[in-house]
Amino acid sequence: MTPCEIKNTLVSILSIPTHGVTMADIRSLQDAVADLVHDGDTVAMEGFTHLIPYAAAHEVIRQGITDLTLVRMTPDVIYDQLIGAGLVRKLVFSWGGNPGVGSLHRFRDAIENGWPRPLELDEHSHAGMANRYVAGASKLPFAVLRGYRGSDIPTRTDTVSTVVCPFTGEELAAVAALNPDVTVIHAQQADRAGNVQMWGLTGVQKEAALAADRVLVTVEEIVEELMPRPGGIVLPTWVIDAVSVVPGGAHPSYATGYSTRDNDFYQAWDPIARDREAFARWIDAYVRDSEGALTR
């Protein structure tokens, strides 16, 4: 297809009649988080290094929404902050670290020492987690993959099992579907109707959004018209509950076309997170008592 044809297709997809479906509300982050994220929820804040919804997570911390089960393939600094803030009961994940820097110290402190509260784990491989979201988005009970062979991982989780292929007899890994109560993602743009487009590394966000009951998207800006981008993903307004405009809402992660990854912050996080008191001071100063990304 030519770019023009792609654009026309995109316009036609987005212009389908919306009677009977609910459009996303464009509203403040504070209201959207208060309405959509509840105590005890299973929440996926996805982003594979890119487009991580930091501002929304900070709003969760400010509102003290607690007893959360957090889901993410690569929990990084933002989940370290939520865990250290004592809001997380359980973590479903496949790799927990500060990429290129080292450990997540709040994550480790919670698991190793139960501080500030014990953290239950449901642990997978990346391939397993990706397929769990695919099953969730497909509204299937499980997904199949050739994975976990010879690994001890299945001994520590009840969401990996095996299934025998009815056609070949091959034994394959089965992973339980993930269906978060709410998925929170950050994207580059929305239009006024609440259709959202993201591009660059789009990770597993489409699957995480379509697997969830409720979807909150923060965006860099609202534009008059979404222009097709190579590799771009469009989520139509009727699968999204709320869109909040939060420029820089992914910082210290980034939004391709708008910002670059603040690698210095990720490195600076290490000594802050090592120390419980330094961490508490940081969260108070930069999250609880701040307007967050809106004023950064």
Binding site: F48, S125, A127, R146, S151
Partner: protein, 273 residues
């Protein structure tokens, strides 16, 4: 730690490990790259022995050509310079599980004599909680589905252990035939490159055997840094020291990866990690 054979430029044992790891990719066409040492090696291979090497990062980039070492597997430059950027489920299902990738390049926290890998938890003794590591990431399926696996890590009794505290990722299991029994498509680990030398699995036993030491490193020193009774090959080779070109390329990649420091020389005289 510096290894300085007479008549060659100064280089660190880490630099020799990185150069040697890059050389191991000379014949590869596609490489699934882990972050850290594997990424350093794969990028150095593109700058030296294998300019056409297709670098694949699990964040979804195929054919990345970064000019500096990425800090994370999702740095913007990896996507901007890629031939294709794909969603993560596609990366693991179509490309990795689909058998499209030659070489998987992994690091590890612990490795045993059959090149099985632990990146999940370490036992710190009685009365102490398990030490937490990052977890599996992509490794179990990379090690299963890539044509073969290379590993790079520093050599010590902490890392090279008699018994893993947890098997995150299967290498050769408990010996020859185990991979086949489990239906794993790839050949598994073919070399473990360290800052002291190179270990390769014995085709008959699948056990890692010391086949190469770095200049000025004795077999005894490698034995002392290995947590099991290390088998040594009949003939142990000596790694070629880095050429000036290899060293220059490695240092340039690292210098470009550092945060910008206006007014400072581009190439620091000494590398620290």
């Amino acid at each position: 730690m510096t290894a300085t054979p007479a008549g060659t430029a100064d280089f660190t044992s880490d630099e020799l490990m990185e150069v040697n790891a890059a050389r191991a990719l000379a014949d590869a066409t596609t490489c699934f790259v882990g972050i850290g040492l594997p990424s350093t090696a794969a990028n150095l291979a593109r700058a030296t022995v294998n300019p056409g090497l297709v670098l694949i990062y699990e964040s979804g980039t195929i054919g990345s050509k970064p000019t500096r070492l990425p800090l994370s597997i999702g740095d913007g430059e990896l996507a901007e310079t890629a031939d294709a950027v794909v969603p993560v489920p596609e990366m693991f299902n179509y490309w990795l599980q689909g058998g499209r990738i030659d070489v998987g390049f992994l690091g590890a926290a612990q490795v045993d004599r059959y090149a099985n890998i632990n990146t999940t938890v370490v036992d710190r003794g009685p009365d102490k909680p398990e030490g937490r590591l990052p977890g599996a990431g992509g490794a179990p399926e990379i090690a299963s589905n890539c044509g073969k696996v290379l590993m790079v890590l520093r050599h010590s009794t902490r890392n090279f252990v008699e018994r893993l505290d947890f098997v995150t990722t299967l290498g050769h299991g408990g010996g020859p035939g185990d991979r086949k029994k489990l239906g794993m498509p790839g050949a598994g680990p073919t070399a473990v490159i360290t800052d002291l030398g190179v270990l390769r699995p014995d085709p008959a036993t699948a056990e890692l055997v010391l086949t190469e030491v770095h200049p000025d490193v004795t077999v005894e020193r490698v034995r002392a840094a290995t947590g099991w009774e290390l088998t040594v090959a009949g003939t142990v080779g000596t790694t070629e020291p880095p050429t000036p070109q290899e060293l220059a390329a490695l240092r340039a990649l690292k210098a470009a990866g550092k945060p910008e420091q206006p007014g400072k020389p581009e190439q620091p005289g000494k590398e620290t990690r």
